[in-house]
């Protein structure tokens, strides 16, 4: 047992911290700190900065232009990123598609698509969920029928995050209706500019439009865009889901959020003193801070096991649940902290306003609280995670 980082790890942390201090634009970190939305250009700007340093693909091997970091290095990098209020790295190309292409893609696919991901030539989005399927991912009905050198795709995807920015989508499509449901699914790369594709935004409860429906009406897709073998897409999708889950707890997000909460609780006055001096509110902060301290170590235990080559199992379900509980509680406390100034509704478009209603830190807190209710729903709802724990760990 040793809770300490090695000297090399500590040096790496310093290197990351110094880099962020120098290269992370304040304009971006202010937006992140106040919970405001980022534009497509904001994301692209930040990706380019990281890519210039060679740090964009933390989970890619060096041969493909990645960093080759181990799990602990990745953890340190993510930790420093969130503490510095850096924008998160958009995961669709880098964390999701990249590893699948490396494992299952053809040489042509790898050499064409991977550099484009690093250079920001493509903005990828994910075409997994379908209407009515909920947490049941195998319920794929969008069909792809072979027609010469193409597939003809018909159907609908939903909950496609940031699909409005994307020019490419990786999709699960049904190529066979025989046998088990899982056995007729294929993994297809589709150009969003193809004729027959329509993207419709879904406005969420917070008023933001970050997710979309994507409709496919006889969309023609080159068969060369099939990843791996036909009808084996389920395997690749599962690989993607289990591959990169070390950040599932969102420790960094929670730490940054806790710091913001404290900053606000120091600024807000209640009964003539800073809110953070209120014993009941301070106790609620203490509770979430204590939970987070423990969760960070639970996360390190899993990270450390992953670094030693063990595949994270149902432990990631525990981290998912506790991570969402902690983050949602921080969101709720932060919204509570801003008091009556939680009430004004400020749309994404207006939130950069130079003359905000109330303190600038208050503007996005209710939106953030509402938006982050999604954390316990998507990526396998917390109910699904509990059932996984009951079966896989408790063997009930």
């Amino acid at each position: 047992m040793d809770l300490h980082y090695t000297d090399a790890q500590t040096a790496f942390r310093t290197e990351v911290r110094d880099f962020l201090a120098e290269h992370l634009p304040t304009r971006l970190s202010d937006k992140v700190r106040n919970g405001q939305s980022l534009t497509k250009a904001d994301h692209e700007e930040w990706h380019a900065i990281l890519n210039a340093r060679g740090w964009l693909a933390g989970n890619w091997p060096v041969e493909h232009g990645g960093t080759g970091w181990d799990a602990v290095q990745r953890h340190i990098f993510e930790d420093e990123m969130t503490k510095a209020h850096a924008p998160r790295i958009v995961p669709f190309g880098l964390a999701m598609l990249g590893p699948v292409l490396m494992a299952f893609g053809s040489e042509d696919q790898k050499s064409y698509w991977l550099p484009r991901i690093l250079n920001g030539d493509d903005w990828w989005c994910q075409g997994y969920s379908e209407p009515g399927a909920g947490s049941d991912l195998a319920a794929v009905r969008t069909s792809a029928v072979r027609d010469g050198d193409d597939y003809i795709v018909n159907g609908q995807k939903t909950w496609t995050t940031l699909g409005q920015h994307a020019n490419m989508i990786f999709c699960l499509v049904r190529t066979s209706t025989e046998g088990k449901r899982q056995e007729g699914i294929s993994f297809l790369l589709i150009d969003m500019n193809s004729p027959g594709i329509t993207v419709r935004p879904i406005v969420l409860i917070d008023g933001g439009a970050e997710v979309n429906e994507v409709f496919f009406d006889n969309v023609r897709v080159p068969a060369a865009n099939l990843v791996g073998a036909e009808n084996k897409g389920w395997t690749y999708a599962k690989y993607l889901l289990t591959h990169e889950r070390t950040n599932i707890a969102g420790v960094g997000f929670a730490s940054a959020g806790l710091e913001q909460l404290k900053r606000i609780a120091r600024a807000e006055q209640s009964g003539g003193q800073p809110l953070i001096k209120n014993p009941l509110f301070a106790a609620r902060i203490a509770q979430v801070q204590i939970d987070l301290m423990a969760m960070a170590t639970t996360n390190l235990r899993v990270v450390s096991a992953a670094a030693a080559g063990q595949a994270p199992g149902a432990e990631s379900s525990m981290l998912k649940i506790k991570g969402t509980q902690v983050r949602q509680e921080i969101n709720a406390l932060t919204m509570q902290a801003v008091g009556p100034y939680a009430m004004p509704y400020v749309s994404e478009a207006l939130e950069g306003d130079n003359d905000p209603v109330g303190p600038a830190y208050a503007q996005a807190r209710t939106r953030q609280y509402l938006n982050n209710r999604k954390l316990s729903i998507y990526g396998g709802s917390n109910e699904v995670q509990r059932s996984i724990i009951a079966k896989a760990i408790l063997e009930l």
Partner: protein, 370 residues
């Protein structure tokens, strides 16, 4: 002891429920969201006609109700459809202060309020005063008001504002708070109106040597403010009951129809038990609202003990119901288009008016525990 409605109240409830069910269509809601005030003129007139505004006032005051149970009844019905009309601001706060303190001339304004022809708002809270009712930094000098007022709900639509200002004492003293009736277009008054989460609008208001007509005795405004806040807290708590009932029904219906893994998800025991827990907390909140309705005109200690008990419990139930109902719906519960969104947003905001669970738990401790 009797928990049944009187015949008159039963009739009012039936009529109001029917009216709101017909009026509050999705089309109206989207119209309201795009409007300048965040509520509907047509519905406001309709409510006045049915007698909903009059139900907030006694016969002496020109109404035909005015008891706690009258307030709770109408507010709950408005909550049930997520109605956003300014019953609290124009009626209980504006009208209520005039009823309590106004001279004969000023009472004419109340008549217009009850008739639905006048909009009002209470410009009392200030940036940094949070939920402290006695914290007033705005000043009055030679009858002219200066200061900043924060999140004045309905402040943009109001043609008359009731403004508090300190005529004596320290910033947090109960004594020394004076009230004034101020014209919305009075000189030196600027309003910045903006939409609220869950509809309705509020305004940031700046006063700079703005003239106002005194309402009640100078420096004696606190007691009346406390009283109308108690009644407003009752109303928003009862509104929350209506919201929670509606959300609970929406969620139960969804659980019955939505199928996953081969059966309606309402058949999953874990979800059943969570729904049962939610129902229990709603019933607890309902009982708390009944308690407050029965004691809202009691002496200050008894009244405020119930105000704080009720607002605490309602705030807790509101968070539970909003979060659980979104969770149990899954993705659809996250979308603006679905009926839950509007109801849940309004419900979440209940904790941010008239004191949150933290504020009221501490006040309850001071009043009834230690």
């Amino acid at each position: 002891m009797n928990f049944d409605l009187t015949e008159e109240r039963q009739m009012l409830q039936d009529g109001l429920r029917r009216y709101l069910r017909d009026q509050y269509t999705p089309a109206l809601l989207s119209q309201i969201a795009d409007s300048e005030t965040g509520w509907s003129d047509v519905v406001w007139s309709g409510l006045a006609e049915i007698g909903v505004i009059g139900a907030l006032f006694t016969e002496d005051q020109g109404g035909f109700g005015g008891a706690g149970f009258d307030i709770a009844l109408v507010a709950e019905e408005l909550g049930r459809v997520g109605a956003t009309e300014p019953l609290i601001d124009t009626g209980l706060l504006g009208g209520g202060l005039i009823a309590a303190l106004g001279d004969a001339d000023q009472q004419a304004l109340l008549e217009e309020v009850i008739a639905g022809r006048r909009q009002m708002a209470l410009a009392h809270a200030e940036p940094g005063s949070r939920y402290d009712l006695s914290r007033v930094a705005s000043t009055v000098t030679d009858g002219k008001l200066s200061g900043r007022k924060a999140v004045v709900v309905n402040g943009g639509a109001a043609d008359r504002l009731i403004v508090s200002a300190r005529s004596s004492g320290d910033v947090a003293d109960e004594a020394g708070i004076s009230l004034f009736i101020v014209d919305a277009d009075a000189p030196g008054l600027t309003r910045r109106s903006y939409p609220l989460t869950g509809s309705g609008h509020a305004a940031e208001i700046t006063l700079d040597n703005t003239p106002g007509t005194p309402l009640g005795a100078a420096g004696k405004g606190y007691q009346a403010l406390a009283q109308v806040h108690a009644r407003a807290t009752l109303a928003i708590s009862a509104e929350a009951i209506g919201l929670m009932d509606a959300i609970r029904i929406l969620t139960t219906d969804y659980l019955k129809t939505r199928k996953q893994f081969g059966q309606p998800i309402g058949k999953f025991q874990a979800l059943q038990h969570r729904m049962a827990d939610m129902l229990i907390e709603i019933e607890q909140a309902r009982s708390a609202v009944i308690n407050l309705a029965g004691h809202v005109d009691a002496d200050a200690l008894v009244r405020d003990t119930h105000v704080s008990a009720t607002k605490t419990l309602v705030g807790q139930a509101a968070r539970l119901v909003a979060e659980e109902s979104i969770q149990l719906h899954g993705g659809i519960g996250m979308t603006q288009e679905y009926a839950l969104a509007h109801l849940a947003r309004r419900l979440v905001m209940v904790d941010h008016r008239f004191g949150d669970t933290l504020y009221h738990t501490e006040r309850f401790v001071a009043l009834a525990v230690a």
